[in-house]
Symmetry: C2
Subunit: 117 residues, 2 copies
């Protein structure tokens, strides 16, 4: 089974592209942490049926990620944003104007990277 | 006809979800600025056929935007990034540490907004 964190990301980015039924089951499995047995009971389907449905949804969602790569782009954005937050913290403590302006220019470059993500 | 800038954005975000043939024609129309007549000749289809194909592609791509809203999210990101660039320019000229740190905190909030986009 695909791990829950990956599924949550896939659902967050591409969930709207599933059918209403798929969305409902996937959301109960991923966001509401229902077990296979609970889902089977809830939707009146066999455990195997639920298992297959979730697997099909994984395939659909991974297919979109392969084509659109939003999770990858978002990871890059998160990484750059985190590094900027660190720079800004440092900036508070730098007393030399020259040093500050050097770091500010670096931050500006990182913001440009974010715009190009 | 849909305007070219909108089509370029749609293609940029969702083009990979078109079939290879659709992608080729749409790209020639939008990125390479072919006219209907040129496309008709290039692909050996009537002008009407090309017109219909482009319209169908518009519909498919707008459908994805309606569900995923990436253009809207990206616009918000661009806006926030631009405003941060302005803040950073101002920051270079502020000599009071207190004032600087106030502005730095504002920038940090905006970076958090970007992470949540």
């Amino acid at each position: 089974m695909k791990e829950i964190a990956r599924r949550a990301l896939l659902y967050d980015f591409y969930g709207e592209l599933l059918t209403d039924h798929q969305k409902q089951v996937y959301e109960d499995a991923v966001m509401n942490d229902f077990s296979l047995s609970e889902l089977a009971e809830e939707y009146n389907v066999s455990r195997q049926g639920i298992h297959d449905l979730l697997k099909r949804c994984d395939g659909i969602l991974e297919g979109y990620e392969e084509k659109l790569g939003l999770i990858k782009r978002f990871d890059a954005l998160k990484g750059t944003a985190k590094s900027i937050q660190g720079d800004l913290e440092s900036l508070k403590e730098i007393s030399s104007k020259k040093e500050r302006n050097r770091l500010i220019s670096e931050i500006q470059k990182k913001i440009t990277d974010i715009e190009d993500i």
